[in-house]
Amino acid sequence: MGKKEKRSRIIAFALGMIIFVILIFPLYWMVVTALKTQVEIFQIPTPLWPADLTLDAFKAQISASSDTLRGFKNSAIIAVGATAISTLLSIPAAYGLARFRFGMKKALILFFLITQMLPSTLVLTSLYIMFSKVKLLNTYWAPILADATLGIPFSIIILRTYFLSIPKELDEAANIDGCGYWKSFFLIMLPIAKPGVIVAAVFSFVYAWGDLIYGITFITDPTKRPITSSIYNYVQQYQTLWNSTMAFGIIAISPVVLIFIFMQKYIVSGLTNGAVKA
């Protein structure tokens, strides 16, 4: 390695470090604030690390009477439900759109691409009226059914690129061996496309977990609110109780952070495949 190259790597490292610190600072600040007392939060200058480290804010949020755990449970039910619907419908659809030729194929792919770009506000009012007619408001079903629409188009696009990357000879061989469409789908395609299925499920979950608009609109019963809607309502009520709000926020983001830590590779590949290749 030349001297010049070595120096440029050191500069790149230093720059990378600085950028990392700036970009990650808001998250650091969330954690530090959650560990501070209210007094320290409003001190000027506010300490960058709490002198008076306390877990009180977390304890208050986790206590049985708080909305936090209930919101967490509600969000878990809603996000798992939406992920299940989205993944179960997307796998066969992506397979069909990758492996077969048929008349409306192009139109269908376009349809899914377009639905991915639609704003939730566009369907919100009509969905509200629809769900109120069939008495689904204030049940988990309303956000589950609506949140699944966020995951389906993305999942289909991602999974289709996975199925496309599997060599056609594999199905042909399976067909010759007497496997029908269904058998070759379950025994050959699905196991190979497993990483794609994981990416699709992860994104469907993250979308559903992060949803606010469907949650605040379809569920007004405080006991059934998802966690994004509970924290939103919590802040309206306790305006400047920032340590508690940040503790609440950390609990609300924890599943996403865990998913991120364990599935980072999948997430990066999903993001780039889904957006660029379509």
Partner: protein, 291 residues
């Protein structure tokens, strides 16, 4: 056969997206509000009246919301793209810790936007907010200011928050674009005596043009429909200065219960996105035959 595989998902999306979209168009030509909501007999078609009232009324909030949305979108994308591009160039180099730094900065994109919005609301707060303290310490500000309570600075604050959320998306897509450039291209540039700036503008940018166009159009679509971030940070205030088309449509429908007007505002948002969406789809069709 392939059609049958795709059918369940297609039906699902038609029921929960397609049908509501059509209903939304019909609703926007009616007079459904808090009074007529429960009385279908009194609901009638009023033609373009909702649209006309939204645009023509003396102080049209919708016009203001469209302008705000454009400012918000262009402001966000401009900085997200430049910062994202710079980071992509940096992280495309191999240096110790590179993949760790790159990986961890991704997380801002995955966080529930509601929480990110609250976090920035706190950082921009006039008392206890760290941003004010930094700016005062650096003598950029004399005293802490109410970022979210003044029209111009509130817009700056929501744009800054949105830039933070969007940087990883821009960075990742551009890195993917950069990895498609074979390294011998750069070697021959070096031999030809091109300097770094020349290489960037004459080689790198033209070669990743498809990735750049994807990032910009998708970024536009995603930013133009942002709702939660703004609803959490400013709720469209103060005095509609951060009102976006999406928050205005929501306010009309679910705070003022003027369902038909809300539907009309949402349709305006849809029409603008449709134009950009068609552009994007044409783009990827040109880029690779999607069949």
């Amino acid at each position: 056969m392939g059609f049958l595989f795709a059918l369940p998902a297609a039906i699902y999306m038609l029921v929960f997206i397609g049908y509501p979209m059509i209903q939304n168009i019909i609703l926007s030509f009616k007079n459904v509000d808090v009074y007529t909501f429960a009385q279908p007999a009194n609901q009638k078609f009023v033609g373009l009246q909702n649209y006309i009232e939204l645009f023509v009324s003396g102080n049209s909030i919708l016009t203001k919301a469209i302008i705000n949305t454009l400012v918000f979108t262009v402001g966000s994308i401009f900085f997200q793209f430049i910062i994202g591009f710079a980071l992509a160039l940096l992280f495309n180099k191999k240096f110790p810790g590179c993949s760790f730094f790159r990986g961890v900065t991704m997380i801002s994109w995955l966080l529930p936007v509601t929480v990110a919005g609250l976090l920035f609301k706190f950082m921009f707060a006039s008392s206890g907010g760290i941003i004010n303290q930094f700016l005062v310490a650096l003598h950029i500000l004399d005293k802490p200011m109410d970022w979210l309570l003044q029209p111009k600075s509130a817009m700056v604050a929501i744009i800054v928050a949105n830039i933070w959320i969007g940087i990883p998306f821009n960075m990742m897509l551009l890195i993917t674009g950069l990895t498609t450039i074979p390294s011998d291209v750069y070697e021959s540039c070096n031999l030809d005596g091109a300097n770094k700036v020349q290489t960037l503008f004459w080689v790198t940018i033209p070669m990743i043009k498809p990735a750049i166009m994807s990032v910009l159009t998708l970024g536009f679509v995603y930013t133009f429909k942002v709702f939660d971030l703004v609803w959490v940070m400013t709720k469209g205030g103060p005095i509609n200065s951060t009102e976006l088309v999406s928050t205005y449509a929501y306010r009309l429908s679910f705070e003022e219960f003027q369902f038909s007007k809300g539907a009309a505002a949402a349709n305006v948002l849809f029409l603008i996105l449709l134009v950009v969406g068609i552009f994007y789809i044409k783009l990827i069709n040109e880029e690779e035959e999607i069949m």
